[in-house]
C-alpha cells in the first residue's frame, strides 16, 4: 500500500518504510511477538564519528555480519532456536529467534578501515569514523 493516507488526509511517508521492514521480517522468518525492528539501537554522534549501540543478547560473533557501503551501514545476524525433544514443553516463550537485518543511512561516508566493533555482554558497540574526504574543511578568508 504505497502512500497510505492518515486520517487527517496527509500522506504518511513512513508507512512504506514500515511496510518494507514488516515484509523483510516475514521474509527472514523472524518470530517475535509484536515487534518490528530488531535490534533496537541507540546512536551517538559527534563531528568525527558515529557510535551505534545495539542490544543483541545471545548472538555470537560468528552469527553477526556488519557491512558498510558508502554511508549505509547494514547489520545482519541470527539468533538460534533452542532444540527441544519430544517430551519437552515450553511453559513460556518470549525470546525471539531467526534472522534479522537492518540498515541505516549515516550522516557521512565511513572510513571503513577504522571501524571498531565490540560485542560484550550481548551489547554491540560500533564506532564508525567519518571518512577523510567527508570531513568539513576549514576555508580561510583572506582579507
Amino acid at each position: 500500500m504505497i502512500g497510505q493516507l492518515l486520517e487527517s488526509g496527509n500522506w504518511d511517508p513512513f508507512a512504506e518504510m514500515r511496510q518494507l521492514q514488516r515484509q523483510m521480517n516475514r521474509l527472514f522468518e523472524r518470530h517475535y511477538p509484536g515487534s518490528v525492528d530488531f535490534p533496537p539501537v541507540n546512536i551517538w554522534t559527534n563531528e568525527d564519528d558515529v557510535v551505534l549501540t545495539a542490544e543483541i543478547p545471545g548472538v555470537n560473533v560468528d552469527d553477526l555480519d556488519i557491512s558498510v557501503q558508502g554511508n549505509v551501514l547494514t547489520l545482519k545476524g541470527s539468533q538460534k532456536e533452542e532444540q527441544l525433544n519430544e517430551n519437552e514443553t515450553y511453559h513460556r516463550r518470549e525470546r525471539a529467534t531467526g534472522n534479522f537485518q537492518r540498515s541505516w543511512r549515516l550522516p557521512f561516508n565511513v572510513d571503513k578501515d577504522n571501524i571498531d566493533a565490540k560485542l560484550e555482554k550481548g551489547v554491540l558497540k560500533l564506532t564508525l569514523p567519518r571518512a577523510e574526504q567527508d570531513k568539513p574543511k576549514k576555508i580561510e578568508v583572506k582579507s
Partner: protein, 134 residues
Amino acid sequence: MAEQTKTIQKQEAKRKEGIERTRDRMTFMPRTDIYERENDYVLIAEMPGVDHDAVDINFDNNELTITGHVDERPIEGHSISYSEYEVGDYQRSFRFSGDVDIDKIDAKMANGVLRLILPKNEESKPKKITVKSG
C-alpha cells in the same frame, strides 16, 4: 504528526506495593523462555549489558527472583542522536511448583543471556510403576 516506527518496548518490572528499589534507575523485565524437561526446568532470560557477577538469583519458598545490574555509561564525547532503547537493570520473579531441588540449581551467564537449570526433586521425578499380575 507522522506515526513513529514502533520499536521493541522494554516492559518495566513489576513492583510490590509501596516498596521502591534503592537504585534510582529504570528496571525492566527480561524476556524469558521457560521449558520443562523430564528431570529439570530450563529458564533462559535475556539481560544484555549484565555481567555474570552482576546477576543475583534468589529462590525462596518456590519463588525464583532474578536480578541483573547493568553498568552502562553514556558514550563520552558524544551526544545521543537517536534512541530506540533505554538502559536499566533487570528483575523478574517466577513461581515454581514445589518440585525444584534448590541445592542443584545451575546458572550460567554468557552474551547477556542467563541460563538456569532447575533440577526436579527426586520425589517429583516420574517413576515407573510396574504392574504385577496377581
